[in-house]
Amino acid sequence: MQKLAKDETSLTAYPLVEVSDLSVRFVSRDLDISVVNGVSFEVAAGEALCILGESGSGKSVTLRALMRLLPPTAQVGGRIALDGMDVLSLGPRELRKIRGGLVSMIFQEPMTALDPVFTVGTQITESVVAHDGVSHAAGRKRALELLELVQIPSAARRLDAYPHELSGGLRQRAMIAMALSCRPRVLLADEPTTALDATVQIQILLLMRELMRDLGMAVIIVTHDLGVACEVADTMAVMYAGRLVESGSSLELMENPAHPYTRGLLRSTVHGGMRGAPLDPIPGSPPDLADLPPGCAFEPRCPEREARCAACEPPARDRDGHFVRCIRG
């Protein structure tokens, strides 16, 4: 609630993340697909953006591009600026410095993202020592502070626990602690609660909301879950087939969705109080990225399509910060 009220101030603040016309193509001997196409957005300090989309929409690739975590077959175009720094021009040494220090990421599955043969404390200490150049003892002290920051009960004991000794919720907290270890200004999260149970999911979301408020980071969360987005996001961006089809403030997007895809997504999400009634799903399935339709990528599934939709790609329109890519505007 507090976050929503802050909307006006955060919009005028300095955008910590500026992405313009980002494109990612995966090219190899027998493959050439464009996965992300002309994506632009900005996130200011203290603001949270949620990128929503189904599998294959390019949302995770967009997020990884911000940290240059893509494989060498990926060709990244456009411009990514984090705190004014042009990420796409950085060399390996500079990249290593900003990863963790300026920008860090929380992954979906903490069990595969944490190293199973080192204790949680060792892993956090290691990154603090490497980045801040402090002594091992100081690094461990900082690790303890971090575990307390993410509200892990009996944190001192948990420092010496291996990842497999922690429950799913505690593991995700430990991963958040590690992501925060070098005080990043930009925090990226890829489906941070998808692997968690409902009662634990809400605990982690509330923790993230609290940390965002207290630490004033710019946060970008990728999710397929509208409920998660509603809990944490100030602004939302909806992706479909590698393109941003709609973005705007959370309230605006949830209450006045303008793109037929966003509306379809809202309609087909099952929520309480609709027992037994047939759902109203979007027909068909997402298109093959290697073989996109010539016009609007959503046209074959769109209930509101017109003849001109298949002819050319729809232009993007911006109405007071509510951006829509649909011919009907």
Binding site: M1, L4, E54, S55, P153, S167, G168, G169, L170, D197, A198, T199, V200, Q201, I202, Q203, L205, L206, H224, D225, L226, G227, V228, C230, E231, A233, S250, L251, M254, E255, G264, L265, L266, S268, T269, V270, H271, G272, M274, R275, G276, P278, L279, D280, P281, I282, P283, S285, P286
Partner: protein, 365 residues
């Protein structure tokens, strides 16, 4: 269609409702005292054996034509229960009665016959299909294993593909990797339906699908259910989806059934504090209605050494002394079909909120 298979398989005398033996009032499935402990450390050489009590004394019934939703967090035993029912895992104890016939044992239903009537759809649509079989062969496999000749089985595969909305001429000869996730899950449903089962167990069958595809598959399941008069056990962690499809809902926690009731009563007035917490953990679809305080703290405890007495007491805001000493039994505090295992709701249990023994008191809501 039901006739064609029945006549292919059995004498003509059985063709008229051959399988409905007990009549409409007989529950399709009766489960009593189902138990499965997985050993994780053997008890040799003076060490004591340790067990994961995955399913511990679970009893419930499934009525004909209903959808029973099963909810609970990971590790609560909901998937193990499903696998025990279809005997993918052998239970340690407990009885399963399918429409009046006990499953297994010298005079009971054979496993093969039970599995013809009870089919299952799994969460991972890709892992549950053989990558080296075409869709047609995948579906025909179970039919052939049940003694149906190759040609009939192939024809039947086309019929069920049509039933789940996949054009047989387009899909029959494809391999699983050539299909999308939603299409693969339709194939899994088609395979489950090929043997004309009466009970279909859906274990997180729509959880891995995208929202727009999930809605399509849910609609398909509802349509098939009424067309083929099926009974479903619908296992999911998604409380909204369970509410949407179920007639009754069963809530599990650490291997135990803690609450079971009609969907509306249970969602409107959950009796168990865990169900209450689970339901209030659902995320709203509006940024205006954010949750400010987590309804439950902590993670579900380890099922290896569950807490004594009531297994939920370590996370429960109503816990008292009695909860650690005595295990609560399932009972109906208000009478009727809504049952709960909680001392705070059971008159005479000794819990301060429970009231005295005697006539059932209405639970506070």
């Amino acid at each position: 269609m039901r006739q064609t298979l029945a006549s292919a398989r059995s004498p003509a005398s059985e063709t008229i409702g051959p399988l409905d033996r007990g009549g409409p009032a007989q529950p399709l499935l009766l489960v009593n005292g189902l138990r499965k402990y997985f050993p994780i450390k053997s008890g040799g050489l003076g060490g004591s054996a340790t067990y994961v009590k995955a399913v511990d004394d679970v009893s419930f019934d499934v009525k004909k034509g209903e959808t029973l939703g099963v909810v609970g967090e990971s590790g609560c035993g909901k998937s193990t229960t499903a696998r025990l029912l279809i005997r993918l895992i052998e239970p340690d104890s407990g009885t399963i009665v399918l429409d009046g016939d006990p499953v297994g044992g010298p005079r009971g239903l054979s496993l093969r016959e039970m599995r013809r009537q009870v089919q299952m759809v799994f969460q991972d649509s890709y892992a549950s299909l053989n990558p080296r079989l075409t869709i047609r062969d995948t579906i025909a496999f179970g039919l052939k294993a049940n003694g149906i000749d190759r040609a009939t089985a192939g024809k039947r595969a086309g019929t069920v593909l049509d039933l789940v909305g996949l054009n047989p001429s387009m899909f029959e000869q494809r391999y699983p990797h050539e299909l999308s996730g939603g299409q693969r899950q339709r194939v899994n449903i088609a395979r489950a339906l090929a043997l004309e089962p009466r009970l279909v167990m859906l274990d997180e069958a729509v959880s891995a699908l995208d929202k727009s595809v999930e809605a399509q598959v849910l609609n398909l399941l509802q349509e098939l259910k009424s067309r083929l008069s099926l009974t479903y056990i619908f296992i999911s962690h998604d409380l909204n989806v369970v509410q949407h499809v179920s007639d009754r809902v069963l809530v599990m926690y650490l291997g135990k059934v803690i609450e079971l009731g009609p969907v509306d009563a249970l969602y409107r007035n959950p009796l168990h504090p865990y169900t209450e917490g689970l339901l209030s953990s659902r995320l709203s679809m509006s940024p205006r209605k954010r949750i400010e305080k987590p309804p439950l703290s902590g993670d579900p405890p380890n099922p290896v050494n569950p807490p004594s007495g009531c297994r939920f007491r370590t996370r429960c805001h109503l816990a008292e002394d009695v909860c650690s000493k005595l295990e609560p039994k399932l009972g109906a505090p208000a009478g009727g079909p809504h049952i709960v295992a909680c001392h705070a709701r059971t008159p005479g249990s000794g819990h301060s909120l429970a009231g005295k023994a005697g006539p059932a008191t209405t639970p506070s809501s």
